[in-house]
């Protein structure tokens, strides 16, 4: 369960995020949508304790993230390139994270195998460093790394951006499959309303740092979302 209490983040005088209260139950898949500056990435940074909150707190499975480091054990995340290590090959990068998460070599290989179609032969076994991968391939490598060690909480910032159409579809089915297992809490931000409406059980609409809509996904959700974002 992710719990948010009186969480605000201010940069100078402008408020980047203002969430008085939010609870995400275990196993829920939540989509965050909102225009640029809505506060999606700020929220993720606060959740991962990469920026200090101005007021309030976030609890990740009962652990207050700014107080203890133990949330790291059950949390996987990919926000941007700073979650990859440029001078490693994808294999070395995965091994590094598997080592930290206590995943054995065999388990890692077994874990990576189902992702071969998603990788489309462009990630593994190419002898390329991550810094030489294209933006889309780098994102694919990073998103998969966030899944190593079966995290209970998964945070992905714009996982569909920069991906080619086939990869977007494959990633969507991977995430849907994960969500259907109901043993992982997922937070996914995206600018693609159709993707989140398809993958997530619940959709939060942020606007200028505030939560303006909290929807349970139904067949009508996409139309409703489009109405929210359509210019008046």
């Amino acid at each position: 369960m992710i719990e948010v209490e009186h969480l605000t983040k201010q940069y100078g005088r402008s408020t980047a995020l203002d969430l008085p209260e939010l609870t995400i139950p275990d196993g829920q898949c939540v989509g965050l949508v909102g225009n640029n500056g809505a506060g999606k990435t700020t929220f993720f940074n606060l959740l991962l304790d990469l920026v200090p909150a101005t007021t309030g707190l976030v609890r990740n499975l009962g652990v207050q993230v700014a107080r203890s480091e133990s949330w790291k054990h059950h949390t996987g995340a990919y926000l941007d390139e700073s979650f990859t290590i440029g001078y490693l090959t994808p294999e070395e990068y995965y091994t590094f994270i598997a080592d930290l998460r206590g995943v054995t070599k065999e388990d890692l290989d077994a874990f990576l195998h189902p992702f071969e179609p998603f990788f489309n032969g462009e990630i593994l076994g190419k002898g390329k460093y991550l810094r030489d991968l294209s933006k889309g391939n780098l994102k694919k490598a990073g998103v998969v790394a966030a899944l190593i060690g079966s995290p209970k909480v998964l945070v992905l910032d714009e996982p569909f951006a920069n991906l080619d159409p086939s990869s977007q579809l494959r990633l969507k089915s991977i995430l849907k499959e994960l969500a259907s297992r109901k043993d992982i809490t997922m937070l996914i931000s995206s600018h693609d309303l159709a993707h989140v409406a398809e993958v997530c059980d619940r959709i939060l609409v942020l606007e200028k740092g505030k939560l303006v809509k909290d929807l349970k996904t139904t067949p009508e959700t996409l139309a409703e979302l489009e109405k929210v974002f359509a210019p008046a």
Binding site: D49, V51, T89, T95
Partner: protein, 503 residues
């Protein structure tokens, strides 16, 4: 329509404002940087230091002639100044190469704007001409020139002579830039220096005599000052070409295929839970230019010890201690002060992975300690060849293991500037700046002061015992020391993450 016209209007005035635009970009980058406060403090200190140095420069310029007259009555003081000219040039070149900060402007966003590439390069190069060195040299020459006129030398010729020397200084600045940029010029400069000093040592030529003739000639015929101007302009042209061709590659990484691989490094298993980080660090060092050249530089420091001619002489003992400290500790000072900045590109990953800050720090301490041991191993031949080296090396090794390592780690946490691992090639001294030496001074100063004090008040043995004792104590209380650093890192976490994000 009117908007379009305004745009064209601005474009026409561009020539005048380009330099202003670049300067304001530079200024904004400096004051909006996360490490601005720290840099400001360092710069204030350095500024003060610089003023004192300027004062000394003026004093030296003014006092040289009277002092020489008083000390060596029979000689021509001006002739003696001229004799030292070439040696001074060599020293200045060496200093400039060591302290050089290459023109670092983030050019990529500018490349597609309607600014000529040439003006970007000219701005960076012209900026490098205006340096503290030039100021110091100007002050020195001004004082020297005034003193010369005061002692009856012809004002017009003195002016020409001083200008010629100033132009020589500018030329040396350009030469040092070129040598830093192109390996073959560095080799050429070093070869020339070696040949000349070799010829002098072997008696084939007298450098001082040649120097005297050159610089007295400059006084007699001041128009010869145009020679360094011409040479300087030529080197500027070479620099310009070298930089302009580099403009395309400024942000490019070394394109090395990883195909060769480096195995799974299973042997690092001996480091236990720190092993993943050790493997990461080793790959970081081998696969990136900047840490690789830092490491190489540190290893070359081993040869520093050759300066000590007679280790058995008690008078040389302070030197012995100094070099022992540097040889066994330079790697730690040089490499360790960029912990955690080496990991700046992926610091958010490390901060969200399933590992504690303590684990991370422990791996760094292990790495740095291994560095001390390896450097000590490299220094072993000194002790084998002359046993006077043995004790100084041993106690300094202990001290560096126990005290320097945690100290460097502590001070490293203040560093919130991002490091671009792929940026630095061999001979690029960028980053070897004065601020860095301040840190070395901060760590070395108290140590050396203590050694000297104990030696003068008690004995060399006491001083060495104290160093060894401190080192051992540091090793014994490493747990609490590490906790202290850990608290520090945790407190700096957000600042560090934010600072490392900046380019």
């Amino acid at each position: 329509m009117s908007k379009v016209r305004t745009a064209q209007g601005t474009r026409r005035g561009k020539g005048i404002s380009t330099a202003y635009l670049f300067a304001s970009l530079h200024w904004k980058r400096a004051i909006r940087s996360a490490s601005f406060g720290r840099k400001l403090a360092v710069n204030l200190f350095l500024g003060l230091f610089g003023l004192v140095m300027l004062f000394y420069a003026a004093l030296i310029g003014w006092m040289t002639i009277p002092l020489l007259k008083a000390q060596m009555p029979g000689e021509d003081p001006f002739g003696m100044v001229c004799s030292a000219g070439l040696a001074w040039m060599a020293v200045e070149l060496a200093l400039r190469m060591f302290f050089l900060k290459g023109g670092t402007m983030q050019v990529r966003p500018l490349l597609i704007l309607p600014i000529r590439r040439a003006s970007i390069v000219h701005y960076v190069l012209a900026g490098s001409v205006l340096s503290y060195f030039l100021l110091a040299v100007s002050v020195l020459l001004l004082a020297l020139g005034t003193s010369l006129v005061h002692h009856g030398y012809v004002p017009l010729h003195v002016t020409g002579w001083c200008l010629g020397l100033l132009l020589t200084s500018v030329m040396l600045g350009q030469l040092s830039l070129l040598a830093a940029r192109r390996l073959r010029f560095l080799v050429a400069v070093l070869t020339a220096l070696a040949l000349v000093s070799g010829a002098h040592a072997l008696g084939y030529m007298d450098v001082f005599h040649v120097s005297r003739r050159i610089f007295l000639g400059l006084y007699a015929k001041p128009w010869l000052g145009l020679v360094p101007l011409g040479v300087g302009a030529l080197i500027y042209g070479l620099n310009f070409r070298a930089m302009r061709s580099r403009l395309y590659q400024e942000d490019r990484h070394e394109q090395v295929r990883a195909a060769s691989g480096s195995g799974s490094m299973a042997w690092t298993g001996i480091f236990g839970s720190a092993a993943p980080f050790i493997r990461l660090d080793l790959r970081m060092i081998w696969r990136n230019k900047r840490p690789r050249s830092t490491l190489l530089m540190s290893v070359l420091f081993v040869f520093y010890g050759l300066i000590v001619k007679d280790p058995g002489n008690p008078k040389e003992w302070p030197m012995l201690m100094f070099f022992s400290f540097f040889i066994t500790g330079f790697l730690v000072l040089n490499f360790g002060q960029y912990v955690p900045a080496w990991d700046s590109a992926y610091y958010p990953l490390l901060m969200t992975q399933d590992c504690t800050i303590r684990q991370y720090l422990r791996s760094k301490v292990l790495l740095l300690r291994t560095g001390v041991l390896v450097m000590s191993l490299f220094a072993l031949p000194y002790a084998v060849l002359d046993r006077n080296w043995a004790l100084p090396l041993l106690v300094n090794m202990l001290y560096n293991l126990g005290i320097t390592v945690p100290m460097v780690m502590f001070f490293g946490s203040f560093n919130t500037s991002r490091i671009d691992l792929g940026r630095s090639a061999f001979g690029n001294w960028q980053g070897v700046n004065a601020g860095r030496f301040l840190l070395v001074l901060l760590i070395m100063g108290p140590t050396m002061a203590m050694v000297v004090l104990l030696k003068t008040n008690y004995s060399a043995q006491t001083a060495m015992a104290a160093l060894a004792g401190l080192g051992l104590a540091g090793l014994l209380v490493q747990g609490p020391l590490l906790r202290l650093i850990e608290v520090r890192y945790a407190a700096r976490k957000y600042k560090t993450v934010a600072g490392f994000k900046e380019n």
